[in-house]
Subunit: 328 residues, 4 copies
């Protein structure tokens, strides 16, 4: 009831403060007998890791995970999978008890609980997202035929192709939809960092070959659950399905049938076509950085991509199991 669990039949329950002993996740609802490949999970975690790119944050933690339960002889047991990642590189002196960083949870955490771990972002730290990536790794194993692709399609005023191309975008080390802009954006981010400034942008997510008939007709429409999943990411400030702004200015006759489905959702339920959405992210708060030499990103978009994909994987896997339950 305190919002630390996400998902119903496939769920993740996460815990951990950024400056406590460890972060962790319990994956509940993983079917039994599925192969677990530790190196693939590590790869996913490394995509999210701070310090991977010189353009982003300086906090360089290994994020080595330890499996505590739920796996035996390389396969899932069907019992809860518990995985923890130790916190090894905290510099709590970067923070102070009386500093409330604007736009962060510092003040509201104090309002809510009256007692907080002031050494960092606590529960609301971006570091919490590593537990989501672990969850996403397992979720994807439930729906192996479905591909998830999140790419940066806008940073500040610079826009990149919204038509995602696997090959081209995979070459971008920043996760841009067009690799050829890597150098330009890299320099732009380094300049912002030097200046103590920051920038937001947009991420386009495509879900290829989703199972059909996922989502429920009333409150748990697939778009509703995807929206909650994405807006639960700290810096995400908006989500728009399909053609976005065009939905509000074009007349009904100007919108094609395919467009009106957002590619793949009709009446809240997937029809099997590719699902498309665009997420807006705000720039990281800069005020706290002035006060103390923090280790924050000028732009969180490159690191947020695996988190976006993971949340989508969890939603789709969960709804897949929900739909499967009633096929008797």
């Amino acid at each position: 009831m305190r919002g630390n669990t996400f998902g119903k039949l496939f769920s993740i329950t996460t815990f951990g403060e950024s400056h406590g002993s460890a972060l962790g996740v319990i994956i509940d609802g993983m079917p039994a007998g599925v192969n677990f490949e530790p190196t693939k999970l590590q790869e996913e975690l490394d995509r999210r890791r701070p310090g991977r790119l010189k353009e982003t944050t300086a906090r360089n933690e290994a994020d080595k995970f330890e499996v505590l339960s739920g796996i035996f002889e390389g396969k899932t047991l069907g019992t809860p999978i518990s995985i923890i990642v130790r916190n090894t590189n905290q510099k709590s002196e970067d923070y102070s008890k009386d500093m409330y960083r604007p736009g962060h949870a510092d003040k509201t955490t104090e309002l809510k609980y009256g007692h907080r771990d002031y050494r960092g972002g606590g529960r609301a730290s971006g570091r919490e997202t590593l537990t989501r990536v672990i969850g996403g790794y397992f979720a994807a194993l439930i729906i192996p035929q479905t591909d998830f692709m999140a790419r940066i399609t806008q940073i500040g005023t610079k826009q990149f192709a919204s038509e995602l191309n696997f090959q081209e975008s995979n070459e971008s080390k920043l996760g841009l939809s067009e690799a050829k802009f890597d150098d330009e954006i890299s320099n732009y981010l380094l300049d912002l960092k030097k200046d103590g400034n920051s920038i937001g942008g947009k991420v386009t997510l495509k879900i290829y070959q989703p199972p059909i008939a996922l989502g429920e007709p009333s409150f748990d429409k697939l778009k509703a659950d995807l929206a909650k999943a994405m807006l639960s990411i700290g810096s995400c400030v908006g989500i728009n399905f399909g053609i976005g702004e065009d939905f509000t200015i074009k007349t009904g006759k100007e919108i094609t049938t395919e467009q009106s489905n957002f590619g793949g959702i009709e009446g809240g339920i997937s029809n099997g076509d590719t699902i498309v959405m665009t997420l807006s992210f705000r720039p990281p708060s800069t005020v706290g950085q002035k006060a103390k030499e923090g280790r924050h990103d000028p732009c969180i978009l490159p690191r947020v991509l695996p988190v976006v994909e993971s949340m989508a994987k969890i939603v789709i896997a969960d709804h897949f199991l929900r739909q499967n339950a009633y096929q008797i």
Copy 2:
């Protein structure tokens, strides 16, 4: 698990197909001893009613409600409140078994269940939203100090003031943020209707004086639950908090502290300031209307306003009770 319940401590469970006997809602989690005023509930329902405006739909149902339980001597009992609204004006001949209206749930309902009530939108009909308005009426009684105001700030390419003004916008019978555009928009919608065409637009929602400390730091951030609530409305295709698009193009230094809070949410938790969001709605599908003389709106925005407010009321009331639970 089939998504017919929304909310945790304050919840609504809804039922009913558009062409069945009745629609209804169970409100669970309503505190006891609260005054129930039937005329006020009827007023809220009337705001949503089709046929209220000549510019919109022709389906003119009275939407008279009946209370089956949970109220005694004019006060809530603390037990589940059940309220139904009979369907009295269905014209099922407007629809046919083999017609799948694009963008509607017709085809996906068939995919999902293999058996559907083809006489109308069934469970996914816009008519279902009246049950949400009933839920919203009761939710608001839990948080009487909080005001909710949804107004149309864009229809097609025409934009209206995003700074909402109670007095001015209350004069607009269409629910525009600026009443002076009523005639112009009224004519525009009548033309679209005549032409079998339709239009979408934007709605701005403001939540004034919300309780502080609502929302949870991880998955149940207030913005996440509001996003789910809004995207569970059929035609809603996007949500953007605070300054919207500006978040993606301005640098961190260009964004004021107040803006970065979306007015009132920091780290997913309310700080007591006004909460602001903008919702995008697509135009109603026009293809089905060509095939048969349906009774659909050229624009659902005027009628969606009480639904938007109601979903917000339910989210805020639910989180208020959640937060209250832990104040021991």
Copy 3:
């Protein structure tokens, strides 16, 4: 969160006070396309009906149900099924505002809510159980191969065969496991009634041919969920699985393997064998009856049998869907 919903994937949400307009139930999670037979549902309701037997209560209501949603052309739609039963025969003058019947919820309802419908048992009335019987009817359709049989095996100090025999016990109009005792017990109950007295007893429930692998290894053991289901029935004061008292006095070596499984549950999970449990019921409170001429039973056991079977059906159907969800 106020405990008006039971079940997870197959759930019933119930509402209604004994002296309000109606009682009702929403069945959520019913698979689509299943035949609904109104006469069979009515038969189940009639088994529970007060006034059916002269030995029990005098309140004689027809309990005619009305389907509001979820059924179309004689088949389930997969959407929530809502069914109501109007209250037609309330005699609220039997009760008074200031009377707290001991052992009933009168006083605790007042303590809990501060406002109650004093005209009868309100939400906690035995009449609420008719909504469970409706839920049980649908649950059974999900697991057609499984049989549920509840029979009275003890009334007061009189014991009947605990080995249930379908043919013999079906001949008992009181629901005794041995029909030959019907007259004796009938006279005994009429004497108690005349005397303003009451009696409890025991019910044995057998679940034949349950699906295998139902129940979860930790908190949602099948025996745990069955126990909750049964103890949620007002007068039920105890549940014992398998050989009951013998478990506490025999040594491990004296208990056969089959006995230690309660017939069919090992480690909380069904193995396919018949599941056996015995329920204890206390006599209805007699104090209130002295004060006013109520219409209560001297013994609720004959009428509780379909309620016991229905709660078991809901538990088994729910766990069946839960297990089915993970078979991918």
Copy 4:
């Protein structure tokens, strides 16, 4: 949905196999700012520890816990508390892949998942109960005025006083309600152990000074949730509230008002008086012990007492928060 979470507003989510790396628990819903005393938690864990008594099991593990999150500067943060206990003393050679111990989950786990950790009881091991004791420790902090006392009132055919006396029973190192029988029972258990035999019995639980108005009138009656909690303990085969068997043989007039409330529950809701229940436990299965030299108890009752108390603490704390939520 796989039953690894118990509780709604105060919940524990547990994980871990008996022969995996660690067992653990996430406590969610703990209010912030409450003092945590590690030594008191260790004391509770030690009461449950195998090997504490020579009469019981030989498995002697330290059960040292590690707090991973949710505590800062000696106080709860309001965020999820995660605590793990490493497995250090597993002897997996005691078990074999093809051995299904009767009455255990071995066979049904295989049926359910098709893949199991055959080195021990896996998820269904009695060792899992240590996570419940951790949860109970925190639950008790929410309701400090309430006392929980579970004592052994029967072992085999030997009965002890059912009127619990704190001072007298605290002197019993076996947890008997009468300390004077310690030597006799100790010798009896040692004989059973030598003989490869085992015994069950009964535990009486009293809840002193529970908060009033806990429990809901329909499915979540306090007795229903307590029954589920207790029957989720592996060896528990029955629960009887109040005067137990006497409820089934005495007439309504023979039962006093206080008795009919089980001491403290009317209509499913607590009235503030002491709540009383008796639990039946079967003897541990003896068949597996013949096959291999296991390390199992001849009698689990002495060790189950803190588990029984802990489950009751969790139920009461959870319902306390639920009731508190609606006091606005």
